[in-house]
Symmetry: C2
Subunit: 360 residues, 2 copies
């Protein structure tokens, strides 16, 4: 009997809730008061997903790095952190190079330092094609050869020549130095290659810079590249995208916006407006001939929102745009865990995309 009463109360409660919901739905959209409606999400234990590769599981199982919580206060502190990261890149890059053999040559193009990455063999269909690579690292980290692992992976899997741009970075060179460099290299490449045979791609800050470069070239009336690859693009440097909150402490790589990420955003922006479409290109206009685009992200990525917001803007503008989202993957992890099958899959999809969308 007691049980029956509890059930009746429960049913009544649910009925009331559903009734309130239905009413709210009929009333339509009342604009919520901003700031007053944050949801309290309780503390949780989140297991290592069984649905990703063992390689990715091993990385997810590790404790979160405290490095991302750091906020350098002086140029001196920035330089030290940059130097540490650079030193740490070296052995990882050497391991990557052993696994994915390619040739690399340093070359100055349009006054900008670049690395030309050439795979061991290039099929005929790719002989007149080239990809321009813009590296990630928050517009601060990953200068030099050891910061361009992504270009090696792309050249290897795509069997296509890649030119990686060692663009200038903060703290010495904030916006728009990086953009000036990427545009200069593109214009230089344009002297040798047909625009439709040129692809441009990058991840994180490199993905954001890729979008900004295309928008800038369009505004300059320069012929646009044939295809674009955006890896979890940092398309909004402000704390706006929803997954900056929902995936906070869940993303293994970025961890939080509060620390190094916000610090990089401010350092790169300098005295400019952080919502300038050439800094936060999600606020740009994608309607005038943006090339076919592939976008890559993961379910744990704090820039999942940036990626899908750009994808929607491209689709709203009628652009041919393909989205791929990888299970359990954090920000840019397909570059970091380059021994994983997920990494291979990302670059094989990119290779297929460029194969299908670039001219010959």
């Amino acid at each position: 009997m007691k049980r029956n009463i509890i059930v009746r109360i429960l049913v009544l409660f649910v009925a009331m809730t559903l009734a309130i919901e239905a009413q709210a739905q009929q009333n339509g959209a009342a604009t919520p008061k901003s700031g007053t409606n944050s949801r309290e999400v309780p503390a949780r234990l989140i297991p290592v997903p069984s649905t990703v590769s063992p390689e990715l599981q091993a990385v997810i199982a590790r404790p979160l790095s405290p490095a991302l919580r750091l906020v350098p206060k002086t140029v001196e502190e920035w330089r030290r952190i940059v130097a540490i990261k650079s030193e740490q890149n070296e052995p990882v890059f050497n391991q990557l190079r052993k696994l994915f053999p390619v040739d690399i040559e340093s070359e100055t193009k349009g006054g900008v330092k670049t690395y030309i990455v050439t795979p061991k063999s290039i099929p005929d269909e790719n002989s007149k094609r080239i990809l321009i690579h813009l590296r990630g690292g928050g517009y601060v980290f990953n200068a030099g050869e050891s910061g361009m692992g992504e270009a090696v992976l792309m050249a290897y899997y795509g069997r296509i020549k890649v030119i990686s741009v060692d663009y200038r970075m903060a703290p010495d060179f904030p916006f728009p130095a990086a953009l000036e460099d990427s545009v200069a290299v593109y214009e230089e490449v344009l002297k040798t290659y047909q625009p439709r045979n040129i692809g441009i791609f990058g991840t994180s800050a490199g993905g954001g810079l890729t979008i900004a470069t295309v928008l800038k070239l369009r505004d300059m009336n320069v012929p646009l590249p044939g295809a674009v690859g955006l890896g979890t693009p940092w398309a909004d440097l402000t704390r706006t995208g929803d997954t900056l909150y929902t995936n906070e402490e869940i993303d293994d790589v970025l961890v939080t916006y509060d620390g190094l990420l916000e610090a990089c955003a401010k350092l790169y922006t300098g005295s400019s407006d952080m919502k300038d479409p050439l800094i936060s290109p999600v606020y740009g206009d994608f309607t005038k001939g943006f090339p076919p685009t592939i976008l890559t992200t993961g379910t744990r990525d704090m820039l999942l929102s940036d990626t899908v917001r750009v994808h929607r803007k491209l689709r709203q503008a009628g652009v041919e745009a393909y989205l791929q989202v990888f299970e359990g993957m954090s920000h840019a992890q397909y570059i970091i865990v380059f021994t994983s099958p997920e990494s291979r899959e990302v670059f094989q999809e990119l290779a297929l995309f460029f194969q299908n969308h670039l001219g010959r």
Copy 2:
């Protein structure tokens, strides 16, 4: 001086962390001990996103419904909850019908109850096409006309005839009754329409059932439909997908797996194996001629993982598959918040997809 020491300690700490990370990376993948490596994610305040429409913001700002935490214990309790939900559906469905005028007729097809939804005008290119709709509701809820709002939206936006299958459901009819019904209707439709002119689609349980239906038809050597639409498909009824954890209490619609969701999974599965590919079709084989597919989900969706896992399996099998992920959107919210621009965008993309991929 003191400040300088703190900076040095901090830098040393970060250097050590990065060094440990680099070492772990070089050591490659050690299989993590299962269960021992759950990550503790602290309690957080998650604001209503400014990046979604006011209509969606208003819904996200509401408190979570306790209805999803309920676990009915007896068939009697299930029936009550089903009846309550059904009553609540009525006024919402009436509002939807007013906003999206179509004609609806009840008809028995292959021994199964269906609703034929006909838009006010059908363009020539759609005159020989039809879409089969399988509704969502955890294989328990949303029986009858008021549970098929999605079919109305699709017919309206797509200007195409839709036949919505009022398939049998638990508790009275667990697996495989629903599948028998969807297959029977497809075979009946096949008597009047060319297979390549038939599309099949559904959301949530309806999305999972859509996949299961295609896999079953293929195993029966029945000619497959021309195109498939999967709305956040419930492709894995077990508690496996990563976003079942990461988006718990963040998804407004499903809220948690622990309550009604798991109860529905068990009720539908009955004495069968929950990992049977016809119950949890993410475990199915997609290699043999699966038709072109569009998949829809949102960044807050607890079935984001199910959706992207199916997308990857389709792509791995070489299937033409398009993924769309909406910012800040919870499970199936494009059907629930049908006045939102996000809902319109979802169905316009579906309409375009079927237009491009169905025969005439």
